[in-house]
Symmetry: C2
Subunit: 156 residues, 2 copies
């Protein structure tokens, strides 16, 4: 089976393909306790099942939303400690949720600045293509100091 799929589970390479993580990273996650020891086949190699993949999927969401590995490890420890930690886990996720929401809001603000800057470039290009005759010395700024880059953003 060249695709690494058997009824006992799938190979590390196949799991890597499905999760978007590398085999190196999958072993690393296991080493630091983010996932439990993965079941091994008769050959001693890792066999990932669907619940391994589901858990990895969730971990990946935490990572891509910016949760540090340390916090993820803490969360997993709480899971292992059992139902009594459910409240603490919820609190962790809610605090994380707030950070993600704030991050999105910040990105949206920054995007506006980026858009203004791009707009400025577009305006300048339009100006240059419609203007004939000698280019007048640009008043777009003092390049020597990077100040007032052609699309310079004003503070405030």
């Amino acid at each position: 089976m060249a695709d690494g799929v058997t009824e006992q589970g799938i190979s590390i390479q196949a799991a890597a393909d499905r999760t978007g993580l590398s085999p190196h990273t999958l072993r690393y996650y296991e080493r630091i306790g983010l996932i439990n020891e993965v079941r091994r086949g008769s050959d001693g190699r890792r066999r990932y099942d669907t619940s391994d993949l589901a858990w990895l999927g969730f971990l990946t969401k935490l990572r891509t939303t910016g949760m540090p590995i340390k916090d993820m490890v803490r969360y997993v420890e709480l899971v292992r400690e059992g139902d009594s930690t459910a409240g603490a886990r919820r609190e962790m996720l809610e605090a994380h949720r707030v950070r993600v929401v704030q991050h999105i809001a910040a990105l949206q603000q920054d995007l506006k600045v980026l858009d203004r800057k791009i707009d400025n470039y577009a305006r300048i290009e339009a100006c240059e293509t419609t203007t004939t005759g000698p280019r007048r010395p640009t008043d777009f700024g003092d390049r020597a100091r990077l100040h007032g880059d052609v699309t310079g953003v004003r503070t405030g």
Copy 2:
């Protein structure tokens, strides 16, 4: 003037306070060419003016939206090369813009997963507080393997 503000510009500490960057980072940015050499006062110390701060503000937007330092340096090089590179700069910013938009979209998707997970915790807590008598063995999953964490996310 203890606040580091004079008519020739403000001290590195004052600039740090205003940009949210540390004095170390301000020197670092200068060293790697993200900002031009900052004007010095008669005592040889850096004096940041408003255009320095405006430029730093823009750089910070690029950073917080995830542009790698290397790309920022490249962008700054283009600015220094003059008007002829305006097109290339616009392309850089537009490509970056696309990445930011995609990143925001991904975060919003991930946020949904997070919300579902938090919702699940809330549901479980509601269940526990309304249920009297012995807790029935949870069918929330096999804690020993981290599979189906109480709030386990199903793939698909």
